[in-house]
Amino acid sequence: MDRERERAGEGGIDALYRAHAPEALRLAYLLTGDAALAEDLVQDAFVRVMGRFRDIRHRDAFWWYLRRTIVNLSTSHFRRRRVERAWLERQHPQEAAPPSRDLGDRDRLRQALMGLRPEQRAAIVLRFYEDLSEADTAEALGMPVGTVKSTVSRGLERLRHELPEDE
């Protein structure tokens, strides 16, 4: 019996949550830019994956399934509810405003990330935060590797514009 299987016993759901929640919450925060929403997404993702955990043969892949579910939930959240548009409208009332030089890198990155399309943001976060290969990113996002390459490339281009190198 492997480690995750032991953790996933009825008494072990607690341990499984404790083990994966911090990483999951940070990932969800990067994908949503909102701590409360990130908590909700992680909770939903964890419940969904646990509901099917008995059917998952490779128990050590729990994080893989959890991450994929978080990304899916995040992407569909923004796609369906158009929260992103509302967020952008709140953040950028004047659309053409250039990136503020007064903001710190962290603030500028947050704004720049939220300015990306959900799929671009997910691809960038998986590639450069989770350090996944292009192939693994493609599998996590359910898209061809070529699409991941172009999605990441366009996302990076936009981030470069929003995050100029320090002079």
Binding site: Y17, Y29, M50, R68, R106, P144
Partner: protein, 223 residues
């Protein structure tokens, strides 16, 4: 930029307040509830199977009824290889025959354990797992009885044919045929509704064969 972006992303992620204990109780309670519901569905399925079996046994003692002939005899069960390249079709037929016969060892002839991906676990040999729990074999049969999606180029894999065609289905405009095929795979109306609301389309089992006829993957979990 890449190194700087990595550092900035890790820095930004530290903004997320991590209070696992605060959310743990509610999440674990929901997760346990979900597992109970899932188990309940499985029990219900077993009960339904028993009821059907008992009904069938009861019918044995009844006078034989001659079924009305309303058309040609139904075709014997077979994989749907319409429009599939010959090498791919041959492998699909082999997998189908082996899975339908419950012959786990025969399935091994169609895959390379060094490259095969099972439930996203690349390079894993699925045969020992299937020998221990052959329930996936029924899914393989059900998946292969549906049409395949159009072959597609996947970098690093060549041209891949994937069953079922539902992977390319737009869930916002599901047809009756597509709903019926999802039901054949065991999805309830509620499951289908969740797939629609989730916005990420078909999340069910899928089977992929490359252009050389090598079986490349079988995935049962989509979430």
């Amino acid at each position: 930029m890449d190194t700087r972006l990595r550092a900035l992303l890790h820095d930004l992620s530290t903004e997320m307040p991590i209070d696992v204990e605060r959310s743990r109780r509610a999440t674990v309670r929901r997760a346990r509830g979900r597992r109970v519901v899932t188990a309940g569905v499985a029990v219900a399925a077993v009960v339904a199977l028993v009821v059907v079996s008992v009904s069938a046994l009861q019918l044995v003692g009844q006078p034989e009824r001659v079924p009305a002939v309303t058309g040609p005899a139904p075709a014997p069960p077979a994989p749907d290889v319409t429009g599939v390249p010959p090498e791919v079709a041959a492998t699909a037929q082999g997998i189908y025959d082996a899975a339908a016969a419950g012959d786990v060892d025969a399935l091994g002839a169609f895959l390379d354990p060094n490259t095969f991906a099972h439930d996203f676990d690349s390079g894993s040999d699925p045969i020992p797992g299937w020998r221990e729990d052959p329930s996936d074999l029924e899914l393989m049969v059900a998946v292969l009885e549906l049409p395949a999606a159009a072959p597609r180029e996947i970098e690093g894999y060549g041209t891949i044919t994937i069953w079922p065609y539902l992977i390319d289905t737009d869930f916002d405009t599901l047809s009756e045929r597509e709903r019926a095929d999802l039901a054949r795979l065991g999805y309830s109306e509620n499951d289908v509704q969740l797939m629609i609301e989730g916005g990420y389309g078909y999340q069910g089992p899928r089977l992929a064969i490359d252009e050389t006829g090598l079986w490349r993957s079988f995935t049962t979990v989509g979430e």
